[in-house]
Homo-oligomer: 284 residues x 2
């Protein structure tokens, strides 16, 4: 089960998930100036970051939107990044938030658990219910793959739908019940399921509540730094169980901006990653 | 406004939206045997279908999952298909069901309203609320683009979340309220908004109800044929207003299977498309 691998990596290297949401704007001058396509530049940047942070993080989350924005050249950079993560033996999370049913869902499974865009784990959207999740079951069982389903997001307008009260509790808690139900079949030796949940860190108390209601659920937590959560907030949950990896993207991969535009940029990114790790593990 | 163009095309050519959910399994022998990559074969098939149906349909919906399944080669076929639709002047709907917030949402907008993967309209998922929709507003206003937001889908497990009762009505009706609110700013001369909704045809009565509550909403209706809806079901709504395009994918693009494996295959697809059009327009 992929969740055992992720859990062990998080125990060994710490819970930081480094987000490669790589915009062209983030590239340092020494890469910007090279005679390469935009996608090649982005891959070069990602590769350097991976090489210099892989002992500090449990996994990498690659936000596919940034690559789709650059068309085929960008998708090549996405494929190269996933391939490189496989080569260095680090866990990749394809942040693709796909969700579609039946034959279409199977095509997404094939696209992101096989071939050029292959990830270890992908994020998915459960608005269409189990039909958008079940096409992935086979891969979870047979190919050591995993899912993080959107549960409660940390953006302002999450309230539009997720916070509606439905039959006694918020819609997102119904989603959590569904995720727990879908994940039952896929529990690893670590006690968590290979179907986990994305839960934002805007309201840290809420994360504690989720942890208590769903003790078998593993979480991908965005929202560290940029979106307001702190290491201390997280530690309250992680002290009870190592049930989450915590993502930061811009906060880490732009750490060099306005400081280093030469090859030394990657040391700034490493420093920021190390600081984030320290900020969380010091409370544990 | 793109919605005016779509509305006019639907009046002129009829409400059929042909779905290019093109699987390798669907290719006729005469294309399968060619010395081309899988993506090239799929594009060749799509191009032939477009050439032979463009006087029978209002638009084409291209389900990106089928292309992602083939990796970079598939994404090239997707890009070529979108490009060809632009060249022949037919409206393209990128069925991508993306949904993400802020900077990430902007990247999806850039990826699918500009560059290689450019569509006229895309499908989106509103689980994260308006933050996942607003990144597209600029393109709707300035670049003649449009959205179809998932409202109520026609799969069995739609009930998991969409049919929960929340504060007096089903979650999907809350989603419909949101779509109506988001779309207010983007009304075209035809009276409909460039932010429309995806509503399945499993329960035709429900479609009538939606039409009555949201008279300004334009619908993309999957579910003709394969998922149970008929032309007569549709006509009850379309007689009141031409508020929808109706998609069929497999029902049309596999019409040649077990009949023609030679160049004549495309005539079978044309015939099926013509029959579908007739089945709807004869009631109007």
């Amino acid at each position: 089960m992929i969740i055992d691998k992720l859990y062990n990596e998080a125990v060994k290297f710490g819970p930081v998930c480094l987000g490669l949401d790589t915009s062209l704007d983030y590239l340092p001058g020494c890469i910007k100036g090279k005679n390469l396509s935009n996608g090649e530049k982005i891959f070069k940047f990602n590769k350097e970051i991976i090489d210099h942070t892989k002992d500090l993080v449990s996994c990498y989350k690659v936000q596919i939107a940034y690559y789709e924005a650059l068309g085929l050249d960008g998708m090549t950079a996405y494929a190269n990044t996933m391939d490189y993560l496989r080569k260095v033996g680090k866990i990749s999370i394809g942040d693709i938030k796909r969700g579609d049913i039946a034959a279409t869902g199977e095509m997404y499974a094939r696209g992101h658990f096989e071939g050029d865009f292959q990830a270890d784990i992908i994020t998915v959207n459960g608005y269409m219910g189990e039909d958008a999740i079940s096409p992935f079951y086979k891969y979870i069982k047979e190919n050591e793959k995993g899912l993080f389903v959107l549960l409660h997001t940390s953006n302002k307008s999450a309230v539009d739908l997720q916070d509606l009260k439905a039959e006694g509790k918020e819609v997102y808690l119904h989603m959590a019940d569904l995720i727990a139900k879908w994940g039952k079949e896929f529990k690893g030796e670590c006690g968590f399921s290979s179907i986990g949940a994305v839960a934002g860190l805007t309201y840290p108390e809420e994360f504690e509540v989720l942890r208590d209601i769903y003790p078998d659920m593993f979480f991908l937590v965005p929202g560290y730094g940029a979106q307001g959560g702190t290491g201390k907030d997280l530690s309250r949950v992680l002290k009870k169980s190592r049930c989450a990896v915590v993502n930061s993207s811009r906060g880490l991969i732009t750490a060099h901006k306005n400081k280093r535009e030469d090859e030394g940029y990657v040391e700034e990114i490493r420093k920021a990653t190390s600081q984030m790790k320290e900020d969380i593990v010091k409370w544990l």
